[in-house]
């Protein structure tokens, strides 16, 4: 096997009539990687998956799989396999016929098909007596496994998953997420997983590709996306966060100096490693995750702090969420581990502080 990317997408554009669904997407996927394409509805993630699968022609740009240009190669001949959002199990075929279908099309003899189908059934932990049943007689989770088995049986190079878990209830979703992860580890196939659920992407993927309006905003490991978002949209999409406006006044190799009308910071500077490379002098945003903020005293020795008034308290079982309003009217979200004794009360005037270790400074943009 070569060391190069298994999937290489370069400058792919796709337009439906006048509507541009993909505006120049480039992405390299490493062999055996689990990559998640994440974004809101209409961001182009499913369109990109369709281009990879070969269901649609790209308007321009190239898609290579194992170095081979896929232009003009029909879906049937691509080494990819798709698990559809609605699963797309054939209702007129039994479970065994569904799973064995790709092999039947490759003219594998019936006995060999039966053996491989049984192997897949075992891998997917499906009961053998299901083989003769029709898909509609199976539960949602079982149908999911049948769909996966059908996609895996032809040993694809790339398994494409188009939000296959989105229709399931939360509990079943958790079970199947764990199973997907296990499956990925055990078969070593490259997974490209489309989802609008960022939590799911963080759980499953080695790398996450955040998309918006036909473009890739950021590609990186889950921790990169979470702690070092490339722009305010990514920061907010990943979960609730606090983006506080600051003004950068200077930057050298080690440190970045800044001022803020609200944040009290004795040093008024940050290590350059906590500031995105594209941040220059002028307006910037300090990204502070809700779980990093704590109540503190006015004179406490913390890196950054500001005064605020508690406006809401939500008890969420394991955690408690607060909303607080700063003196200049910015709303802040704070999340703490649940405790029987709440550290802050509704309407209370408090000081909120956080350490500079886990913050991130990024350029302002569309949120």
């Amino acid at each position: 096997m070569t060391d190069g990317p298994i999937l290489s997408i370069t400058g792919v554009h796709k337009s439906y009539g006048a509507y541009p669904a993909l505006k120049g997407v480039s992405l390299d996927v490493r062999p055996g990687e689990f990559i998640a394409l994440v974004g809101p509805s209409g961001c182009g993630k499913t369109t990109l998956l369709k281009q990879i699968a070969g269901f649609e022609d790209t308007t321009s740009g190239t898609i290579r799989i194992e170095g081979q240009d896929m232009a003009g190669v029909p879906a049937a001949l691509r080494p990819t396999s798709m698990v559809f959002q609605k699963l797309a199990l054939f209702p007129h075929m039994t479970v065994a016929q569904n799973i064995g279908f790709p092999l039947k099309l490759r003219k594998v003899e019936p006995r060999a098909i039966a053996t491989q189908v049984e192997e897949m059934i075992r891998l997917m932990e499906l009961k053998p007596e299901y083989l003769t049943r029709y898909p509609r007689a199976l539960s949602g989770g079982e149908q999911q496994r049948v769909a996966l088995a059908r996609s895996m049986i032809s040993s694809p190079k790339l398994l494409l998953l188009d939000e296959p878990l989105s229709a399931l209830d939360v509990k079943l979703k958790k079970v199947l997420q764990a199973e997907l992860k296990r499956l990925h580890r055990s078969v070593g196939v490259t997974f490209v997983h489309v989802t609008h659920d960022l939590e799911e992407a963080m759980m499953l993927a080695d790398r996450i590709c955040v998309m918006r309006a036909g473009k890739i905003l950021q590609l990186g490991e889950p921790a990169d996306i979470y702690y070092r978002p490339a722009d305010p949209f990514v920061a907010g999409f990943i979960g609730e966060t606090n983006l506080m406006p600051i003004t950068v006044t200077g930057r050298n190799a080690d440190r970045v100096t800044y001022t803020s009308s609200e944040i009290a910071d004795a040093q008024a500077s940050l290590p350059a490693s906590l500031v995105a490379a594209d941040v220059g002098q002028g307006a910037a945003l300090m990204n502070v995750r809700p779980e990093l903020i704590r109540r503190c005293d006015k004179d406490a020795d913390v890196d950054c702090k500001l005064p605020a008034t508690v406006t809401e308290v939500f008890t969420k079982g394991g955690t408690v969420q607060y909303r607080a309003r700063s003196r200049q009217g910015h709303e802040l979200a704070i999340e703490i581990q649940g405790a029987s004794h709440l550290p802050m009360q509704l309407g209370e005037d408090v000081w909120l502080g956080w350490s500079k270790k886990e913050i991130w400074v990024l350029k302002p943009g569309e949120a």
Binding site: F55, A76, F84, M93, L105
Partner: protein, 288 residues
Amino acid sequence: MDMEVSRSWRDPELWVKALPSVILQTTCFLAPLVMTFVLTFQKTQNFQLNWTWNLATWTDVFSKPHYWTILGHTLVMAVACVAVCIVIALPIAYGLATRFKRLDSEIKVLITFAFITDATLKTFGWVLFLDKKGAANYLLMQMGFPPETVAFLFTDWATLLGMVYNLLPFAIFTIYLSIDNIDRSLILAAYDAGAGKFRAFWEVTLPLSRPGIWAGSVLIFLLGVGVFLEPKVLGGGKSPMSAELIRQTFETRVNWPLGAALTLVLMAVAIFVVLLFSRVAGMRKAGQ
């Protein structure tokens, strides 16, 4: 919320609620059928109906092979019409449902137009076209064919042509609807699994459009068994079909008991064929 439906026949409320439907069914369907049945045991003399209970009509029906030949001919024509209609309608419906999806509403309007244009008009149109001095022969002569190449007006083939022409929209419509209902991702899944266009059609689209094909077949068969316009106008009345025979028996020969008996025989045979049809279809489905 849901109350269990366990009503007794003695429940008076049930009878009251069922009454409109019962009256409608009885007056419009059951009563005429019973009257037709009763008619078969009567006699006509001097173009007058005589209320004398006897089995003469039924002995006549079962002893004369002529009626059965016509019935057999009718069934053969109807089945042939079903086969030709399905074979023609399938690719048309498939094309309409897949290739011309953008013209969806226009297509439905056009199909509806095909239904509401009078069949008599269309059938006579074919006579003009297929006549010895008609447009078809004229065109073929211009192309160098000998005169009267199209000489099948007033044959069974012309009858079949007319039947297919008039009944084809039913097949297109039912098959179109069932193909249109197939989830597009199933077809994509077939491509993804490695199927070419033809294989995907054969393995997925065709089996899933079977309900439409059966519905269209049954509809066309029943309508085809009852045609009298096409055998008369295009077939020239040379080899009549059952419906035309029944019409003649009632109108020309004024033999109402015989007409009634022939009607019942045709109905029974048609229903039998449809049941046999659906039995076979049901067995194939269960065997999958």
